[in-house]
């Protein structure tokens, strides 16, 4: 030790201090991470409890496990039907975003046509317009003029093409080397064929990112489907559950358990999907999309 200190100055001491401070960073982050995921633990435990009392002792229950809460919420709002509605809504937006978003992103990145620059500027502006300002005229337009209230089409239309996704696709298509496209064009491939067989396979990671961020939009969306659906048989799960929380919860024996069971059913498909694909939820991909 003494030899060490005389020859290498205070280096070991410094390294030691550095290791200690890194340990402290890990400890603090771990505590914050636990605070962040605690409500999910609370939700998952409570959904399977006969009586999810909210005292501290109920956080590590010994017994009282039940599936009753899922039966209750299912009887009240038809979980399967609501899940199907959520899935159709989400699938519609995903299909629209992938088909039209990929082609628009490709055209913006790699083709020369009049209006390309203008469209890009408009896209930047669109990011700034809050949906809430458009909500009233869209409601008049879609429910009134087009008669699309209580339909999947009316639900999907305002979010059919996700602008962030178009930005991400454009960014990825731009990063491909021009030589690949030149070679394909020399071989006589049509532009659509270049897109389908060359460009799209090369931006697979972007497609994964877009599927992930587009999925969470409609699946979690509350306001628009809440406005456009009056019939309970058309409501996605988020809307059905919100109505249950607001109106029905007071009339059943164990509303807390049923609310948590519904919350779990709505949350966990996305949580699981996200944990499986979290490596595509990266800063660089999405950051490019947000900043344009």
């Amino acid at each position: 030790m003494s030899v060490d200190r005389s020859t290498a100055g205070n280096a070991p001491d410094h390294a030691h201090r550095k290791r200690a401070s890194r340990g402290a960073v890990y400890a603090v982050l771990a505590v914050i991470a636990l605070v962040f995921i605690f409500p999910f633990y609370f939700m998952a435990i409570g959904a399977f409890q006969e009586d999810p009392t909210t005292s501290l002792s109920a956080l590590a229950p010994r017994g009282g496990w039940t599936l009753e809460n899922f039966t209750t919420i299912n009887e009240r709002l038809g979980l399967l039907r609501a899940l199907v509605n959520s899935l159709v809504f989400t699938a519609g937006v995903l299909a629209g975003t992938l088909v039209f978003g990929l082609s628009a992103g490709y055209a913006l990145a790699r083709l020369r046509w009049r209006g390309r620059g203008a469209l890009f500027v408009i896209m930047l502006g669109v990011q700034m317009v809050p949906f809430q300002l458009l909500m009233i005229p869209l409601y008049v337009q879609i429910a009134g003029n087009y008669g699309l209230g209580d339909t999947y089409a009316g639900m999907i239309l305002p979010s059919l093409i996700n602008t962030t996704a178009v930005f991400i696709f454009r960014q990825f298509f731009r990063s491909l080397p021009e030589s690949i496209f030149e070679a394909a064009r020399i071989d006589g491939a049509s532009e659509l064929r270049v897109l389908w067989s060359i460009a799209i396979p090369m931006v697979r990671p972007a497609i994964a990112t877009v599927v992930l961020i587009t999925f969470i939009g409609p699946w979690n969306e509350f306001l628009w489907p809440f406005l456009i659906t009056k019939e309970s048989s058309m409501q996605p799960l988020a809307v059905a559950l919100a109505n249950y929380i607001n109106n029905v919860a007071g009339t059943v024996a164990n509303p807390n358990g049923a609310i948590l069971a519904g919350a779990c059913t709505l949350a966990f498909p996305v949580v699981i999907l996200f944990c499986l694909f979290q490596r595509y939820f990266t800063a660089s991909d999405i950051g490019a999309g947000i900043k344009g």
């Binding site: 020369r112 458009l134 909500m135 009233i136 919350a263 979290q278």
Partner: protein, 311 residues
């Protein structure tokens, strides 16, 4: 080498020898065709409703059944005068101010600190990222259900606080309802801003930290003098996005505090847009609130741009 590429790659500019459609639409008009669905979508779902919203706000407008004609007389600024003299509307803007004062600084500071802490680590980062992002990807409605139970009168939070629990409880207390919503939204959205800051930190040169360390600057000093200025443009983005998200608040006051309660203490402008426009059938007043809200958000964004500008 130059000949085939000149043949294959389309020219940037059209020339006078090109056919008329090429001069009109550019060298690769297919691009317009491929973007057309998206352009139509933007026109139908963005541009038209945006113009319509501004239009309605200057007229006396009522909803009619399809096919029924109703007069929509021009009323100038009357709708704006009506909403600006409505104490509930003014109250909702004051509530949003309370929300932003709590939410925006908390969001910027926490996400910047968490991202730079996360960036300094090498192991367990994926697990930490998942923990921070998971509230962001989960539906508000689910999380509100959980928070309602945790913050209710005899909920978990109050049973931990014991005698310190507020009375009346969090969500039904007119002084605590809006701060509770601000905390909820900060927690729910934080992961997304951590993600943006993580991206920005990749662009801050590592050498700056190393040379500062050699000069003997501590961690706090390095954070203040290298990290904070290094991610300035992202801070502006985070500020603007947090302001937009905050002013669009609807689901939380609608569900968490049961329609902006207690007694309007957590009502947001968008909640009033919904109540006036859809429930009470006054889209003209609702649109006027919307236009005022957008102007205020624009002003706040401009101020943020000024504040984060380099001196």
């Amino acid at each position: 080498m130059t000949t085939p590429s000149a043949l294959a790659a389309p020219r940037a500019r059209t020339s006078a020898r090109d056919p008329w459609w090429r001069r009109l639409l550019g060298t690769q008009p297919l691009g317009l065709g491929m973007s057309l669905p998206y352009i139509v979508f933007l026109a139908v779902v963005m541009a038209y409703p945006l113009g319509y919203a501004v239009y309605i706000s200057f007229f006396d407008y009522v909803f009619t059944a399809p096919g029924v004609h109703a007069d929509h007389p021009f009323v100038g600024l009357a709708n704006y005068r009506a909403v600006l003299s409505d104490p509930r509307v003014l109250g909702s803007f004051a509530n949003i101010a309370v929300f932003l004062i709590i939410n925006v600084p908390l969001t910027v500071i926490l996400s910047m600190v968490l991202a730079s802490a996360l960036n300094s680590l090498t192991r367990w980062t994926a697990a930490f990222r998942v923990a921070f992002y998971v509230p962001y990807v989960t539906a508000s409605v689910s999380l509100i259900g959980v928070w309602m139970l945790m913050f209710s009168q005899d909920g978990l939070v109050n049973s931990i606080l014991g005698p310190l629990a507020p009375d009346p409880s969090w969500l039904v207390n007119s002084h605590l309802a809006m701060p509770s919503i601000a905390l909820f939204v900060t927690w729910k959205q934080l992961g997304f801003y951590v993600l943006l800051y993580l991206a920005a930190l990749q662009n801050v040169p590592k050498e700056l930290y190393e040379s500062a360390q050699v000069d003997g600057a501590g961690a706090a000093k390095r954070f203040l003098h290298i990290t904070v200025p290094g991610v300035r443009s992202t801070t502006l983005l985070v500020l603007i996005l947090a302001i937009i998200t905050g002013s669009n608040l609807f689901t939380e006051p609608y569900l968490l505090t049961n329609g902006g309660g207690p007694d309007g203490a957590s009502a947001s402008p968008v909640l009033l847009i919904y109540q006036k426009g859809i429930q009470q059938g006054n889209p003209d007043l609702a649109s006027a609130i919307g236009v005022i809200l957008v102007i205020l958000v624009g002003l706040l964004s401009l101020i943020s741009t000024r504040l984060t500008k380099e001196d």
